[in-house]
């Protein structure tokens, strides 16, 4: 089959958590562009409906399923509803997450609640969703799980605990899933976005020069990577984490603010 056809997702259905905004919405829309129907998952219904309208504009079906992905009973019900609606699910994108928990607190200041919130939001949610769908994938001998970590999954930083730790856990979950279900034709991979600011305020824009690329990631750059990883073109790829960060981790040994020397002085 010609290579571009192997990226096609027509007839497939993807569950995307955190689909109401930002990278989750972008991935949902790109998967829809590539042919997939979408189950949009998130806490609040309104943003999901906005994503849904955009998915339907692309000619695909959309089911909005408001869910707290840190609650396993809700997750199990969400997966059951998705299967009931679409028959089969082929793709799960574990994107939901956030970095607010305990940010900036020193170790003695961190509460039990901070710890559990951070781990639950980023790691437990991916675990619950993967566990809920895996028997369906095994039964149909086809499944693609795409987890979303962060450059923070590779880094250490002062007084940052839950976000990096949970995101490193997501990378490890990716490997465990890849090894456990390889023989059932289930693939597991992970996207590690660098800086993709939600809002480009002037203050944020001013910091773009600190990035090795001289810019942040653009929202429309994340979706195509999800499409590739979800597709048959990634058949022999599993357990792998793909950085999409404009070289930020590779360049991490350079002090922030030291722009790379550019040939010809171009900026």
């Amino acid at each position: 089959m010609p290579i571009l056809d192997r990226f096609d997702l027509s007839g497939r259905t993807a569950i995307v958590t955190g689909a109401g905004s930002n990278l989750g919405r972008e991935m949902a829309l790109a998967l829809a562009e590539a042919g997939a129907d979408i189950v949009g998952v998130g806490r609040r219904p309104e943003p999901l409906e906005e994503t849904g309208a955009l998915v339907r504009e692309r000619g695909r079906r959309f089911l909005a399923r408001p869910t707290d992905v840190t609650d396993s009973a809700e997750v199990n019900a969400m997966v059951a509803a998705a299967i009931a609606e679409f028959g089969t699910i082929e793709i799960l994108v574990n994107n939901a997450g956030g970095g607010a928990a305990g940010r900036g607190k020193t170790l003695p200041e961190l509460t039990d609640e901070d710890w559990h919130l951070g781990i639950d939001t980023n790691l437990t949610s991916a675990f619950f969703c993967s566990r809920a769908i895996i028997e369906h994938f095994v039964e149909h001998e086809h499944g693609r799980i795409i987890n979303v970590t962060s450059g923070w999954g590779f880094r250490g930083a002062r007084d940052r605990y839950m976000y990096p730790i949970s995101k490193a856990g997501v990378i490890s979950l990716t490997k465990a899933l890849a090894m456990s279900y390889a023989r059932a034709n289930v693939r597991s991979s992970c996207i590690a976005p660098g800086a993709f600011p939600h809002e480009l305020t002037p203050e944020v824009e001013n910091r773009a020069g600190l990035q090795p690329a001289g810019r942040f990631g653009r929202m429309n750059e994340i979706g195509p990577l999800a499409v590739f990883l979800a597709s048959d073109a990634a058949e022999y790829l599993s357990g792998e984490t793909v950085l999409i960060d404009g070289g930020a981790i590779a360049a991490g040994v350079t002090p922030a603010g030291i722009a790379p020397v550019v040939p010809g002085g171009a900026a």
């Binding site: 010609p2 290579i3 571009l4 056809d5 192997r6 990226f7 096609d8 790109a30 562009e33 590539a34 490997k175 890849a178 090894m179 390889a182 023989r183 660098g194 090795p212 690329a213 001289g214 990631g217 653009r218 750059e221 195509p224 990577l225 499409v227 590739f228 597709s231 048959d232 073109a233 990634a234 058949e235 022999y236 790829l237 599993s238 357990g239 792998e240 793909v242 950085l243 999409i244 960060d245 404009g246 070289g247 981790i249 590779a250 360049a251 350079t254 790379p260 020397v261 550019v262 040939p263 010809g264 171009a266 900026a267």
Partner: protein
């Protein structure tokens, strides 16, 4: 497909005629690119294979050339690239896919074999990347993809010199990716695992069976397995991916 079209682009796939070259070239052609190829020597079998690959791209409707070129000779590479760009189009995509592993105990490697292994797998890549990369940087756009074995950071007996070149390729990739990203040129590595063409499993059915049991995806790697990742990395959509090693290895490196 909305994404990943390479229509209007010109790709150069370099190196000796290796196990992946046909699949890599054909994928780029199928995605819309004109494809040119190099072989390291004018030996008849290499030339026949290069022409066969070229004909397959041509039958898809693409242009390009298959040329014989010593990649360690910068003057020759400069002249060849200038000619290709003049006759076909500026090169947008450079795929460095050399193939020259010498498998033998380190203590038995001759100085000539060490030198040849470095020349084929590393020096040739650096020369080609300098020549083509300079043009890409000037034009403000380019994609460089280096094929790198998972041996770059794994220990396998009798591959030490080859493995050293693969580690060096990864260092080259990571550094150049940062050096050129503000010029619109990305540099990435495409990691591969144990392939169908390896002499060991081809000659030894027991070894082959053992590898197939050990590789989580239960089979040796084929050229087609790299096509999707190559087209992704070569595409405009991957403009924020640089200095990255994208491993497509049937998950074997997860073992350790």
């Amino acid at each position: 497909m909305t994404f990943f079209s390479l229509a209007g682009k010109h790709a150069l796939v370099t190196g000796a005629v290796g196990p992946f070259q046909r699949a890599l070239a054909v994928a780029l052609a199928e995605a819309g690119a004109d494809v040119s190829l190099t072989t390291a020597s004018a030996q008849l079998d290499e030339e026949v294979q290069a022409n066969s690959i070229f004909n397959e791209c041509w039958s898809i409707g693409r242009r390009g050339e298959a040329i014989t070129l010593a990649l360690t000779d910068e003057v020759a590479v400069e002249a060849a690239v200038a000619g290709l760009e003049e006759r076909i189009a500026p090169i947008d995509i450079l795929v460095n896919a050399p193939h020259g592993a010498v498998i033998k105990p380190f203590l038995e490697m001759t100085a000539e074999e060490v030198g040849a292994t470095f020349n084929t797998n590393l020096a040739g890549v650096m020369v080609t990347t300098r020549v083509v990369g300079r043009r890409m940087v000037e034009r403000g756009h380019g994609r460089v993809v280096n094929l790198v074995s998972i041996l770059h950071d794994r220990g396998v007996p009798n591959t030490a010199v080859y493995a050293a070149t693969q580690g060096a390729l990864l260092g080259l990739t990571k550094s150049l990716g940062i050096e050129w990203i503000r010029s619109g040129v990305t540099v990435n590595a495409l990691g591969f695992g144990f392939t169908e063409e390896l002499a060991g499993p081809q000659q030894d059915p027991e070894l082959r069976a053992a590898l197939e049991r050990y590789i989580p995806l239960q089979r040796l790697e084929r050229g087609e397995d790299l096509q999707g990742a190559l087209v992704y990395l070569a595409s405009d959509e991957a403009g924020f991916v640089t200095s990255e090693l994208l491993v497509v290895d049937g998950a074997i490196s997860l073992h350790g």
